[in-house]
Structure formats: C-alpha cells, structure tokens
C-alpha cells in the first residue's frame, strides 16, 4: 500500500514538473506524516537540530570515556601520598633540559621536581618546582656564581642541595624547618656526599661524620658514635630516617624507632652500595648479590631474577632499580605510577638515577632515557591522588547512579501512570493520592534524611544502592502524571477498542498496546530526569549525604573545595569536576530539549 502511494506521488510530481518546471514544494505536516512514520519524523527532526545532536555526541563521548577510562586508570581507595599533594596539572616532571642532555654528571629527584648537574658543574632544575605560592625551587635557585662548580646535587621534599668543588654546601627552597641552613663550619669538613630528605638535609664528610640539619622532630635520626658515626662511607635517605654503610661494609640504621626498616641485615658480607625506598632498604654486596629488607608487604621486597652482576642500585619512593655490568636496568616494586616499566630503549646504560616516582637512565652514548611518573594530567588533590583518574571513576559512579535511578523512576512512573490512567475508578483515585503525597515530599531534604538515617549503618555499596532507590522512588510522580494523561487520551482510540473486542488481556492492552504509543513522551521525560538525578546525586554527595569519600563522584570531589585557599591556589581540584559535571548535564538537557521539540510538531513553528 505504502509503496503504491509513493509511486503515484512520484508520477504526479514528475508530470507537474514537466508542466511547470522543477520547483520543489515543501510538504506540509500531514503529507509528510503520510509517507513517514511518526518515529521517523521525530528522528529526522531531531537530527536536523544541530544543538541537540552536538549535545548527544558530546554526551556519548563522555559516557564512553567514563565507562572505559576506569579500566585503564583504576583507583585505589586507600591511596594517600604525602609527597604528591596538590600538584598543578602538567606532564613535565621528567622533561630533562636540552642543555643537560648528553652531558649529565648527576640527577637527583625530590618529590615532584628533579635537580641535575652537568659535567661543567652547571645546575638545572625541572619538573613541578612550585612548592607553594612563595617557594619555587627553580626561581629560588642561587645564581651559578653563588653555586660555583657543582659536583653533586640532591633534591628533597621541598628543598634542594648542591655541593661544589670548594666543599661548600648550598641549599635553597623551603626553609620552614631551617633545612636550608647549612652549619657554618661545613666547608672545612670536606663533604663528600649530600642527601636531602623530608624537610631535612644530610652531609657526609670525608672523615665519615654525618652532619644533619632541618626537621629533627619529624625525622627519626639519632646519630651516635656507637652506630659507627665517624666511620660512615655512604648514606641513603629512607622516608623519614637514614641508612648508612660503614667503611667496614656494614649497614647501620640511623634512627631509634623500631620500624621495619630498622631491622637491617647483619653479617651478610661486605656492603658496597645502599639504596632505600620509603619503607624498604636494599644493599649491594661485594659479590654482586642484593639483599632487601623492610616492610614485608611491600612489592619492593620481591627481587627479580637478574642476568649479570649488579654494579649499582638506586631507590625511588616505592621502587628500586638496579644496573648490571652489561648495561641492563631492572626495576621492581610498586608500579602504580609506571615507575618500574623500564622501556626497551634502555640498553647499554652507564648510570641510573631514581627518586620519587621518576627514573633517569644515561646510555653509554650520553642519551637520557626516562620512565615513571611524568606528572598529573589534571593535577593531584589534597591526598596526592590523581584528579584525572578520580574524575573518570567519579564520572562512572555519578552516571551509574543517575541512570539506575532513572530506570527505577521510569518503571514506577509507567506502571502507576498506566494503571491509573487505564483502569480509572477507585484505583485511579488511590494512585493519584499516593502520587500527590510523594510529590509533596520536599525532594532534597527528603533524600538527605533518607540517606543519612537509613544509610548511616550501611556499608558503602549498600549506601550507593540506597541512593539509587531513594532518587528513583522520589522522582516518579511527574512521569506518572504524564503517562496517565497520555493513556487517558489513547484509551479512547479505535485500536484499544479493537484490542478489547479481540479479548486481549487488560494488562497487555496497557503495556503492549498503549504504552508503545506514548513511548516518545516517556523518553523525553526520562532524559530530562536523568539530568535531574545526576544533579541531585552530586548535590547530595557535595553536601556529604551521598556517596562518601574516598570513593569519588563528581559531586563529592567538590566537597572540600569551598574555601578560599583551594578556590584560588588549587583551582584544578574544583574546576575540572565542575566542568565535567556541568557539560554532562548541559548535554543531557540539550538532548532532552531537542527530543521534545522533535516530538511536538507545534514547537517547530511550520
């Protein structure tokens, strides 16, 4: 039938064309609907609306990103890293300056920045050097004249040190704990090694004496003669304590607290090199074998199988690296920031420098190969967590909660609206009263009360399910009213009478015959409800009544951001979640608006 009609139309059209020339006449609504199903008209109208299609595209993109992203950026809920707090966005932590390339004498990495010195004694600083508003390691660096010809550098948590040929130790950066105030007589003592730690500085003299200055309260350092002071050959800074090798090749712990790292291995042979992570120590013995000790659960305890004799070792914050005599590099330990992913280009290495989460390997030809943490794409937050990965994971949570609550509310709305519209009578009256009671419950306060009272004693997952349920059960009345009105209109049409006459069950008339006819209205309402549910979820989480930290959602990522310090200095912590949430909701609303316009031909103003 349809086909014939089309053919006939075409024929008359071409006749007219032959008579009057090819002037195309716009079809009016009725003609158009005659050759196009209403659904196709809707789709066509929708596709023509550039704004809505754009919104749909952006939303789908965001949806896919937050759906797939967390697989690549999984989140550790218990994560806390005090050396990586509030780092500005950027990926330049391992960007070695060009001038230094091929001419490296030494590189040392602190928390977020690295200090390097070239063979001419010139010092370079790179990475996230801005420690606070006032302190910038790069800007505060003394001029090259003041530094002199530098032979060794060391980077700490928020300060850096340099040792020059005159035996002078120059420190710069944060001086809150006077960690940059080197003792005055240091020049005479012939310093041979320097090491900067967490708000503390160390210098080892030729005479085997350890000098230290800075924060003694936080750091566990009790240097006594019994521990071999005056006889020290090498030092390595662990998190807040110090490990050392004596000239006799023995390992000593320079702290007094009985931590895991304090139980140093004894009588293992002659130690030639030492390295430390935050919780573990590693020594290289004379015969090239390695010994690791410290926190037992740490992944740094698992020594890998190595070919060839190890010649030097280095330690980052949670990982170790070892260099063998044939120029191969091995890295092991925690790999949460890619710090043990040694690239295949790291062949024929002559030296490896590891620190924090960064690694620099110098090949025999002088090229620098780097791996580890490049930086944080969108910065890090107040617990040192990557904002980008929290954004992805939080987005997934926000969208999941929004979507499931919409599904719940749509199902309830369709059932109640359909039943009450079709059956009428006392069922209708009863359901309408229930609808009115639910809609007279104030939405936000009600959701707050339900999640705080019922949810208080629940586990986190149960809380999330509860939130979906609460949002779903509070937001169905408007859809139920809409569906009821539509069903009332459809109920009187012929196809329903026909279905009734054929003896179709009442329930299947409602849900199989009538509801598909009003599905377009339901879709629009569900789309707009999705936006509302996402907003409500994020508002609840923002207030602290929804999903609780540390599990992220876009709402609770903004939770701790309402104070002037965060708003001004750590803008990346609130700007990115705010942008993502806003764009997402804007897109959904645009799609919903576009759909509504597409369904309602009146609004097209033809």
């Amino acid at each position: 039938m349809q086909k014939d009609k089309n053919n006939g139309k075409k024929h008359s059209f071409s006749l007219r064309k032959r008579l009057f020339g090819g002037k195309k006449e716009a079809l009016d609504v009725m003609q158009e609907e005659a050759i196009q199903s209403p659904m196709r008209t809707i789709v066509k109208n929708f596709v023509e609306n550039k704004l809505s299609i754009g919104g749909l595209a952006v939303f789908l993109l965001m949806f896919l990103v937050v759906l797939i992203g967390p697989l690549f950026y999984p989140i550790q809920l218990s994560e806390k890293e005090e050396t990586q707090l509030n780092i500005a966005p950027g990926m330049d932590m391992m960007k070695v300056p060009k001038e230094l390339e091929g001419n490296v004498r030494m590189i040392s990495t602190g928390s977020t920045f690295s200090v390097g010195v070239d063979n001419n004694g010139k010092v370079y600083v790179w990475g996230r050097t801005k420690i606070s508003n006032k302190i910038d390691i790069e800007k505060d660096m003394p001029s090259q004249e003041e530094l002199g010809e530098v032979v060794a550098v060391s980077a700490g948590f928020d300060h850096a040190m340099a040792l020059n040929t005159d035996g002078e130790v120059v420190c710069w950066g944060s001086n809150r704990m006077s960690q940059t105030k080197a003792p005055s007589g240091i020049k005479r003592k012939k310093v041979k090694q320097i090491a900067a730690g967490y708000q503390v500085s160390f210098a080892l003299t030729e005479g085997g004496e350890i000098l230290h200055w800075g924060n003694d309260n936080l750091n566990d350092i009790r240097i006594t003669r019994k521990k071999g002071d005056g006889n020290i050959d090498k030092i390595a800074v662990a998190n807040t304590t110090l490990l050392a090798v004596t000239k006799d090749g023995e390992v000593v712990h320079m702290g007094s607290q009985p931590t895991d790292i304090a139980s140093v291995p004894e009588d293992v042979g002659t130690v030639v090199d030492i390295a430390a992570t935050a919780d573990n120590g590693l020594v290289l013995l004379e015969d090239g074998s390695l010994r690791v000790w410290g926190k037992g659960r740490s992944e740094a305890m698992n020594l890998p199988q190595m070919d060839g004799k190890v010649v030097s070792i280095a330690g980052g914050r949670t990982h170790f690296t070892a260099l063998t005599e044939d120029g191969k590099v091995y890295a092991w330990g925690s790999n949460n920031k890619g710090q043990t992913d040694v690239p295949s280009s790291a062949q024929n290495i002559s030296a490896v420098y590891s620190g924090s989460y960064q690694n620099y390997a110098i090949t025999e030809s002088g090229k620098t190969v780097t791996w580890g943490l490049k930086g944080y794409l969108l910065g890090s937050d107040d617990l040192g967590r990557d904002v980008f990965s929290r954004l992805l994971n939080g987005g997934r949570m926000t969208m999941t909660i929004g979507a499931i609550s919409v599904v719940i509310s749509t199902i309830i709305g369709i059932i109640i609206g359909g039943v009450s519209g079709f059956f009428g009578g006392w069922v209708d009256i009863l359901l309408q009263r229930i609808t009115e009671i639910v809609s007279s419950l104030p939405f936000l306060p009600m959701a707050m009360i339900l999640t705080s009272i019922i949810g208080n004693s629940m586990s986190e997952n149960a809380r999330i399910i509860l939130m979906m349920a609460v949002l779903g059960f509070l937001s169905w009345p408007s859809l139920a009213r809409l569906v009821r009105a539509q069903v009332l209109a459809e109920r009187e049409k012929e196809f329903v009478t026909a279905a009734t006459a054929m003896g179709v069950k009442k329930s299947s008339i409602v849900f199989k015959h009538i509801i598909p006819n009003v599905i377009s209205v339901i879709i629009v309402s569900a789309t707009l409800d999705f936006a509302t549910c996402m907003l409500t979820e994020s508002t609840l989480s923002f207030l602290g009544f929804g999903v609780k930290l540390p599990r992220p959602t876009w709402g609770n990522m903004l939770n701790g951001c309402v104070n002037s310090v965060v708003i001004k200095s750590y803008w990346w912590r609130w700007v990115f979640p705010a942008i993502m949430l806003s764009i997402c909701v804007i897109c959904i609303n645009m799609v919903g608006d576009g759909l509504r316009d597409a369904i309602d031909p009146k609004s097209n103003e033809r």
Binding site: S452, N456, F542, I586
Partner: protein, 328 residues
C-alpha cells in the same frame, strides 16, 4: 469556591498527617539512644545505681518505652501546641533554635526572588516577542546552561571571581567578626555579606525562569485574540503588555509560587557553601549531629511549605484567570 478551598484544606491536612507518620517512624528507627545521650555527662560522676535511675527517668520523660502510636500522638500533640522538641546539640528548645535562621532564610529568599523576577520577566517577554532572533537563540542556549549547572558550581565560580579575584565580597559568614556598629552600619555589613549568596541564588534561577516566562508568553502570543488585537490596530506595546502578558501571567504566577518554595530547599546548598545561619544550614547541622528533633521539625516545616505552595498554586489559577473554574 469556598467549598473547594475547604476540600483542599481537609485533603492537605490528611497528607500532612500521612507524611508526619512516615517521618516520625523514620526518625524513631534511627540507631542511638537519646536518653543515654542526655545523661551521658553524668556517667562517672554519680554511682552506677544513681546513673541507672537517672537514665530511666530520662527514658520515661522521653517516652521511649511507649509503643510507637502512643509516642506519635504525644509528639503530634506537642507539635500542634508549638512544642517542637528539644535540641540535644544546641541545648535549647527547637522553637528557639530555629527562629532566627528561619527569619534569615526568608529574607534571603525574598531578596533573591525579587531580583530574579526583575530580570527574568522582561527578558522572557523580550525573547518571546523576538522569537528565533539571534538574541533569543543565544539566550536559549544560555538558559539551558543556566538550569543545568548545579547551584554549588555557580557558587564556586562566583566566589572565585567576586571574592577571590576581585575581593568585593566576603567568602562566607553572616557578619564581620566582632562587628560593633549598630543600626545602618550593621545593616550595611549584613548586606555586604548576603550580597553574594543572593547573587548566586538569583543566577541559579535565571535559566529556568526565563525559559518559563518565554514559553508562557509565546503560548499567549499565539492566541487568536492577539491577532484580533493587532488587526484592530492596537499599538504593539498594548498588545504585548496588556493582552498577551496578562494571559501569560497565569502560568508565571504558579511558577513564582512554586519557585519561591523551591528556593527554600535550594537554599540548603547555598547556606552550606556560605555558612549562613539559615534554616537549611540548621537542617544540615541537625542531620549531621544526629540532632533529630531539629531535623524533624524543619523537615515538617518543609512539608508544610510544599503543601501550602501547592494549595496557593491551585487557588491562584482561579484568582489570576477567571476562565479557570477550579470548583468544578
């Protein structure tokens, strides 16, 4: 008309009781022993026996051993007599605790409503008259943005610009700390502190309201009597403001009322951001500190507000538009 109002009132009271029963049951199933909380401070100071007696007295006083229906009737009786309970957090009667915050919230809301109406009504009318012009399209996109962006993000952005960058307004609070002035100076100080919250609330409501006014106005302009009015040569101004606007007013009035009420709920977030001593902040504190008498009282207040707003909305149809005969 009177019969209709009466019917609605009876119905409203019914809904109120249903809601209050739900709320009461919810609050009474919360974990924690309120009697124990009250006498907790005495523990250790008096002998165990004495403590048990005090505890039992507290339980009896709170009626914790009665069955739920009895407790509900007691509570409802007190509520209707104006006794809203006792705040365990503020150590005072709830009615005294929520008085000042309620006043503050109402003041802020009235300010925000007036400012928002002053902007959105002219804007909405203008957009409807110049429908599909470039200006209108731009406003349409902006309004989608306006009602999509949650209020706390608007708050953060405006705090960033006005408080942090420009330094015009304080970031939070109601008064300058240790403010000594009185009269006009105190009023100006208060105004200074409340300006940004009011701006945030206004901006947050611009999007939705402008769209609403525009839609109502477009509907009114599409009517036949507008064509008639134009055909008989009336000035465009008269057509718009006298013929179309009066008819659009019907839906705008309902909007204003329901919006004014929704601002009460929305102000929970704003008061939380700016640390204003308002009813929303009080509700937040009540829930956070397990001070359930306060939370329950405010929750009931919210319910009453919603019910009254629904009633006024329905009645105002008839008042604004004589064509609507609600008593039928």
């Amino acid at each position: 008309m009177l019969k209709y109002v009466g019917k609605r009132l009876v119905y409203m009271v019914g809904v109120f009781f249903v809601v209050s029963i739900i709320m009461f049951i919810l609050f009474n199933n919360t974990p924690g022993d309120r009697a124990l909380n009250q006498v907790q401070s005495l523990r250790g100071k008096v002998s165990d026996e004495q403590f048990q007696i005090r505890y039992q007295v507290a339980r009896d006083k709170l009626g914790l051993d009665d069955p739920i229906p009895v407790r509900y009737i007691k509570w409802m009786g007190n509520l209707l007599q104006g006794d809203l309970g006792y705040s365990t957090f503020f150590k005072d009667d709830v009615i005294d605790v929520i008085g000042v915050p309620l006043k503050n919230t109402v003041i802020i809301n009235i300010f925000a409503t007036i400012v928002a109406l002053a902007i959105t009504i002219p804007l909405g009318i203008f957009c409807a008259v110049k429908k599909f012009s470039k200006f209108d399209n731009a406003v349409q996109v902006l309004t989608i943005v306006g009602y999509s962006v949650p209020i706390y993000i608007i708050g953060l952005v405006l705090i960033y610009f006005f408080s942090v960058q420009l330094g015009w307004f304080p970031i939070s609070g109601m008064n300058s700390p240790n403010f000594q002035g009185s009269g006009f100076a105190a009023f100006m100080d208060r105004l200074h502190y409340l300006a940004l919250p009011v701006i945030v609330m206004t901006v947050a409501s611009l999007g939705g309201m402008t769209r609403y006014v525009r839609a109502a106005m477009i509907d009114a302009l599409r009517m036949d009597y507008i064509r008639t009015a134009r055909a008989k040569g009336l000035k465009e101004k008269v057509v718009i403001y006298s013929h179309a606007w009066r008819n659009a007013l019907l839906s705008v009035v309902t909007l204003i009322i329901s919006w004014f009420m929704s601002v009460f709920m929305g102000s929970i977030v704003v008061e939380q951001i700016f640390q204003l001593n308002g009813i929303g902040q009080m509700y937040y504190k009540g829930l956070m500190n397990q001070d359930f008498d306060v939370a329950l009282a405010i929750q009931m207040l919210y319910c009453v507000i919603t019910l009254i707003s629904n009633l006024i909305t329905d009645l105002s149809y008839g008042l604004v538009d004589p064509r609507v005969r609600i008593d039928k």
